[in-house]
Every structure is written in structure tokens, then in C-alpha cells.
Symmetry: C2
Subunit: 221 residues, 2 copies
């Protein structure tokens, strides 16, 4: 399928491009600990000890452990958005856009599996204001998919399954993004598949879910 | 599409068909509390108080809170298996089997959303022996899908996306089951969609992911 052609690289999309060196180090140590022990069971002292820094040094960077979790979640969404925008930037046509967005979100959840999983599992522990801001960012991702899927309805490029006799861009967007979000639960380099392959595979699945024919999909690029 | 024809009913598949009245009541109260507060933060006293029973009465049913969680997870998988076996029992052909299995797992995760979500989020807190038994049951569900997808490869009915130049039944099974498992995170009757519609919609998506044409899919039933 011509859509699986020459994908651009996401290699320079790393947390260190978005954060100070100290914050990069603190976030990486915290993500490892939250992944193993959970956010609530991890202490500031353990995080700083894992960075070879003293516990008081933490407060030069973050006022509270909640603030660190919020920063981790924001950075996760900043990175994910960069993948999505880059994908959107190179795509044309509804099928091409669904393909590129799905490739981007799937590859992101394989490359940054641990960070994405910690964010998905722990963001509900945030205080109400911060919780709502992260929820809004998660909705915004779904809406980006919903928008390009609606485009494909209007252009006649897509013929997806209906629900209750209607086409539902929101439900299709939910299904595609949830399939991709779960990659962070099972992906490991030990599977012998690289994140780029995971991205291409899910992009092809998403286009099939929209019932865009390969010909239509190729036209879209 | 003829596959969305006259689906059988799952109405009598409820926890009370599998459990004593007391265990049904204790599980229901525990699921509500675990859903809101998490397994670790919920006490036996709170569970029993929610059932209008005394805390010591708990130990007539379960030796520990871990044993209750294990029983909840086992019951969840017993119910899910009944949906899956019933689906498999009425299906013929690889596309028909993928369609019925997906409909069954999707409908299950909408009907029993709270129970399924508590099981998915909390089973990792089980002691090692029980944890491994639940992991094995989760693998068995994926393998059921993997088996019918492999059948469709061999019969020539399916032409799914490849990964690294190969067709991978395991990865397709993972994608379909994960899409369905996530239904328990977002489904609510308030959406105005009933669980049966959710099941039919996802069944159609799964068949498209396998690139079984509607004609082949209909032949399969």
C-alpha cells in the first residue's frame, strides 16, 4: 500500500528538547518509580535519591509532587502533540490525514511507552484544576481525529460502520485513539518490532476501519 | 451488512448466576468502592458497611481482601468467557467468528463496564500466584482471537495489514481486544447507545481490520 511509503523521522522529539537538563533527569527518575510503585506510593526522597540529588533540591524545581506529576503529564502531551502536528503537516486528504495521525499517535505510544502509561494511569491523582487541564488535552487529541474523520464523511471518502443507523466520528475517533493508547501497555522493544513498524501497522488498520479503499487512501497523499 | 442481523441475547449472563446471594452483594459493593477509591485505599469495614453487614461477617466469605479481589477478577473472566463462548457457538467461518467474538467482548465491556474496569486496573495488586492465574486468563482471551484470525489467514478470507512484511495474528488480536477492553473506560448509558449497539459497531470494525470483504463475511455466517 503506497501509504506505507517513506515516513518522516520523529527522532528529535525527546523530552530533553522541551525541558531543562535538571527537569529531564527528575522526570525520568520519577517516571521509572511511578511505573513500578505507582505515583501515590513514591516519595520525593526516593525520586531525588534515584537522581543522586538531595530531597531539598527537589523544591528548586517543583513546589510539590503533584506539580511534578502535572509537569510529566504536560510534557507527555507536548511530545504527543508534536508527533500529531508533524503527521498532520505532511498529510493531504481525509484518508491521508487519518493515516498520518494514527501513525503518529501509535509510534508515540511505542517510543514513549513508559511515560505515556504513567500519564494515563496516574493523571487522575492530580488536583481538580490540573486534572481538568489534562482531561482537556486528552479530549483535544480525540477531537483532532474526530475532525479529520468528519472530513472524510463529507468528502465521501469514508464509509465506516454505523451505530444506531448513523455514522459517528466521535466513536470512531475513540476506537482508533484507544487502540493506540493501549500500545503503551504492551509494547516492548523485546517484541522485535520497532516503533515505526507499530505506527505503520496501526495507520493501515485505522484507514481500513474507515473503509477508505486503498485507491482512495493513496489519492489522499 | 448481513452480519449485523439478529443477535442473540446475553441478558441472563449476570454475576448472580455465578455467585451466592451474599457474594453477589459483597462483590457489588466492593466494585463500587474500588471504582471510586481504588483497591488499596478501600477497607473491609467500608465494603461491609456498604452492604449493611458487620466487618467480621466478611470473613465468612473471604479470608482476605486479596481473596475478594481475586474472586471479583475470576467472576469477571467467567462472565466474559460466557459471552465469548456463546458468540463462538453461533458463528461459522473465520470472518463470522471474528465478528461474533468481537461483538461479545465489546458488549461485555459495555454491560459490565465498572466490573471490567476495576478488574483491569486492580488485578496487578494480587499476590503472585493469583496474579499469574488472572494473567493467564487474559492471555487466553487474546489467544482465542489469535486462533480465529490465523484460521482466516489459512483459508484466504483475511488480508490484513502486515508488519515487517508478515501477517501477525497476535498483533491483530491485541489491537482488537484492546480496543474492546477500553470500552469499559468510556462507556456510559448516558451516551444514548446501548451495549448491543456498541457490540455490533466494534464487530464491524474488527472485520474491516482483517480486510474480509462484506461478501466473504456474510458467507462466513
Amino acid at each position: 500500500m503506497s501509504m506505507s511509503g517513506s515516513p518522516q523521522s520523529y527522532e528529535n522529539l525527546t523530552p530533553s528538547a522541551l525541558l531543562s537538563p535538571a527537569a529531564t533527569k527528575v522526570q525520568a527518575a520519577a517516571i521509572d518509580l511511578f511505573y513500578i510503585k505507582g505515583f501515590r506510593s513514591t516519595t520525593v526522597k526516593e525520586i531525588m535519591s534515584a537522581c543522586d540529588l538531595t530531597a531539598p533540591a527537589f523544591y528548586n524545581h517543583y513546589p510539590t509532587k503533584d506539580a511534578l506529576l502535572f509537569d510529566i503529564a504536560q510534557t507527555t502531551h507536548d511530545l504527543c502533540d508534536q508527533y500529531l502536528y508533524r503527521g498532520l503537516g505532511v498529510a493531504t486528504g481525509p484518508a491521508g490525514r487519518v493515516w498520518e495521525l494514527t501513525r503518529a499517535i501509535a509510534e508515540f505510544h511505542a517510543v514513549h511507552a513508559k511515560r505515556a502509561r504513567v500519564t494515563s494511569e496516574d493523571f487522575r491523582a492530580l488536583p481538580p484544576g490540573e486534572l481538568e487541564r489534562i482531561r482537556e488535552r486528552r479530549r483535544a487529541v480525540r477531537k483532532m481525529f474526530e475532525h479529520v474523520i468528519s472530513e472524510g464523511f463529507e468528502s465521501g471518502d469514508f464509509d465506516p460502520p454505523e451505530i444506531g443507523g448513523l455514522r459517528c466520528a466521535r466513536l470512531l475517533a475513540t476506537s482508533v485513539t484507544n487502540m493506540a493508547i493501549r500500545i503503551s501497555e504492551w509494547y516492548s522493544p523485546a517484541l522485535g518490532l520497532d516503533p515505526q513498524q507499530i505506527g505503520l501497522f496501526h495507520a493501515d488498520l485505522a484507514v481500513r476501519m474507515m473503509q477508505a479503499t486503498p485507491a482512495e487512501a493513496s489519492d489522499g497523499r
